[in-house]
Structures are given as C-alpha cells and as structure tokens.
Symmetry: C2
Subunit: 228 residues, 2 copies
C-alpha cells in the first residue's frame, strides 16, 4: 500500500530498499486504520515506535560521542536530549515524504491527524525501528547522515548559547532598541525558513533554519558577529 512514488524516493534519495516491505507498511499504519481493517493483517506502528525510540537514542548518542569529543558528559546529554525529544522529528517525517503514506482510519483522517506533529514524530521513530529490524544499525546511521546529522553539525539543536537573548542584552545596554524578526520565506518540503532581523527598522541580517526558532537564532548570531 506504500506508494510507488515513495518507494522510488526512498531508493533514489536515501538508497533504502526494504527486504521486508511489511515492516514498512507497519511503520506507517496508525491504530485507527488497523482497528478499521482487522482483516488486512497489518499491525499498527506502536511496537516499531517502541523499538525506534531506542534505535534513535543510540544512533544519536554514538554520533555525538564520536563526532563531538570535546563535549563533556553534561553537554552531550543536553544535546542528545534536544535532538531526541522528538519534537523535531515531525519535520524530518515531512521532509522524507512520510506524511502522505500514513494509513489512517476515517475518523482520524477527518480530525486532521495526518498533520498532527505527535503522530508524525511517532511515524519517524517507527520508520527507524523498521529500518533497524530490516537492515540493522548501519542502515539507520546512513539514513540519519542524510537527514538528522547535518542539522546537528549546523548547530540547530545546540541551545547552549541563546543568541537572541545575548543580542538583546548587548543592544539594550544603553536604552531601548526595537528588535524585530520576521519570516520572509517559508517552505515545507523540506522545511526551510528564512528570517530577517531588523534593528530600529533597519534590516541587519538574515538567518536560515529548519524551523522559525532556529532561523531566528541564526539571524541573531550573524548580528552578534557583526557587532562583536
């Protein structure tokens, strides 16, 4: 039931071909669908999500351990927690084309579940669980190298420095200043935001990111670099 177009995307963009496509179906099957179609014999994704959660936790931990040798345990734990707290996973699910492949029951479809962030996050975890079962950890690591890891390296999960607050404090030392962030470009596939920063109505910098918050941080960071 997974679309041919999606299978082609998986193969072309991520070099992924499932040996057992039933696992892939399962990763995209919401309980509302399996409840409505008991004779299809397809389980919902919940057990794959259970497994995928741990798969992502280890994959990310391993990546951080090897690629960020200068971070101490506290910094590693904080960064890992920012990455795997799953909020961001919904954006990856959209980027990877998972959204259109989810099997939903009629009620949930009408209720807009397909756009629900928590459901998209669950499906991203379930997909990684399915990939782990089908092809093991190296395949998961390869997939994450094409999706999640580049954003780690761009600093999008690093909240150790809050550039917006730092900029505000620096600028307002000598009295009130008008700081304004506005989204000037936004796309969903893949999610990409461009934010413009104005200080006292003068355009200063732009920032790009996977979501609005990350783009604002990048714009503030660029402004700080100009000022410092």
């Amino acid at each position: 039931m997974v679309s041919t177009k999606f299978l082609k995307k998986l193969k072309d963009e991520y070099s992924i071909e499932f040996n057992n496509e039933k696992l892939l179906e399962e990763a995209f099957t919401h309980s509302s669908y399996s409840n409505e179609h008991p004779n299809d014999g397809i389980r919902d994704y919940e057990k794959l999500e259970f497994l995928g959660d741990a798969v992502l936790e280890l994959a990310v931990s391993d990546y951080l351990y090897r690629h960020y040798p200068k971070l101490n345990e506290g910094e590693l734990t904080r960064l890992r927690s920012n990455i795997v707290r799953t909020e961001g996973f919904s954006e990856f699910a959209i980027e990877c084309g998972f959204q259109n492949e989810i099997h939903l029951g009629n009620g949930e479809e009408k209720a807009g579940a397909r756009k629900r962030k928590t459901l998209l996050e669950d499906v991203f975890e379930a997909f990684n669980g399915a990939l782990f079962l089908d092809q093991g950890m190296p395949a998961v690591q390869h997939f994450l190298h094409l999706t999640v890891y580049p954003l780690i390296d761009k600093g999008e999960f690093d909240d150790s420095r809050d550039y917006k607050t730092d900029l505000q404090e620096l600028l307002q030392q000598n009295g009130p200043v008008n700081i304004e962030y506005s989204v000037i470009s936004e796309s969903q596939l893949p999610p990409h935001f461009v934010v413009e920063l104005k200080i006292n109505d003068q355009v200063q910098t732009q920032g790009e990111g996977h979501n609005k918050k990350a783009a604002e941080q990048q714009a503030a960071k660029a402004a700080l670099q100009k000022l410092e």
Copy 2:
C-alpha cells in the same frame, strides 16, 4: 590497572577480551580518581556512561521486541523502564566483579563510594558503553545474555502482577491473617536471596531472587499457586 584476576574472570565467564584495555580502565575510573591523578591520562567514565545508557536501552528494547511478541507497546515500555531504570544494575555490577576494580579518589574511598549503588549503576552502564565501542552490539548482547536477560525471563522485572498484595487480599477475605516474610539466606556474589513465607506462623513456601523484593514476590506467587 585492572586486576589480572578480573581480566581472567571476564574471559572465562563472559568470553570478553578487550582489544583496547584503555576503554576498560576508563569505564572503571571515577572522576574523583582522575582529578587526583591528572598525569595518568585516564578519563573518568562519564562519557562512556552517556553512551552505555543508550546501548543498554536499545539492547534491552531489541531483546524484548524479539522475545516477547505478545506484549503490546504499553507493556513493553513498562517492562523496559523497570529494567533500565538502573537500580538493578548495581547488583549486576557486583555480580560481575566490577566493584573491586573501580578507581576512586581517596576522599570518595573513605566516604564509602565503592558501595554506593548509584556509582555501581554508572559503572555498569560505562562498562557496556566501553564494550560497545570495543566490539559492537553483538558483544553487548552476548554479555547481557549471561547477566540481565535470564532475569527478565524469570519475571524479576515484571511488576504487572503484585503477588504479595494478591495473596494478602485472598487470605484476609475472612478476617485477619498473619503473613510474614523472612530472609533465610543471603549472598552477595552473585546477589541471591531466599525468603521464607509463614502464614499464621506456619511455613508455607520459599522464594528466591536477585534481591529481597523479588524473592518475596516469588514466595507469594508459590503460595498463591498452592491456594488457587
């Protein structure tokens, strides 16, 4: 600095020989020791603990997923949480002979840190992190097959039924009954407890387990089986 006796135990009992013994040293080095011996060039175990935490989470998740196909996602998550909440890991650390190998600073040694449960749990996680780096997931799975998994299969982490409470409720339906559990045998290497259950001063059953609570549950379970 790891003892020859311990290296032999690792090899004989768990078929483990580290390629990089520095990782093993690191897994047993507490920060109080590395702070006191900065010239030894041995890091403390905290980063290995960060990694080991995720290694154990996935290893246990994978085991549960494959060996308990009848459990649903909620039951799997609850069981996993009981296993990896790490309290039990201190007992495995003792059983595996880790306790005597830990490098502690003088102050922590005098303060009794070697017997501290949280420290033993940390070391168990760090050891699994080191083993994962040295030899990959299959070696970790092999080690857990000889330590943690048998206790999962014996039901020691399954709190879905509280046998002690069930027994009490059954017995006290017709008025007060005196139920008494007492430890009649206890050893630390490996941790093993035998508990005797008396009902109105009559010995009914015994239970064995990795800790007192588990042994009591087994005794209550046996009594329920006699009564039911």
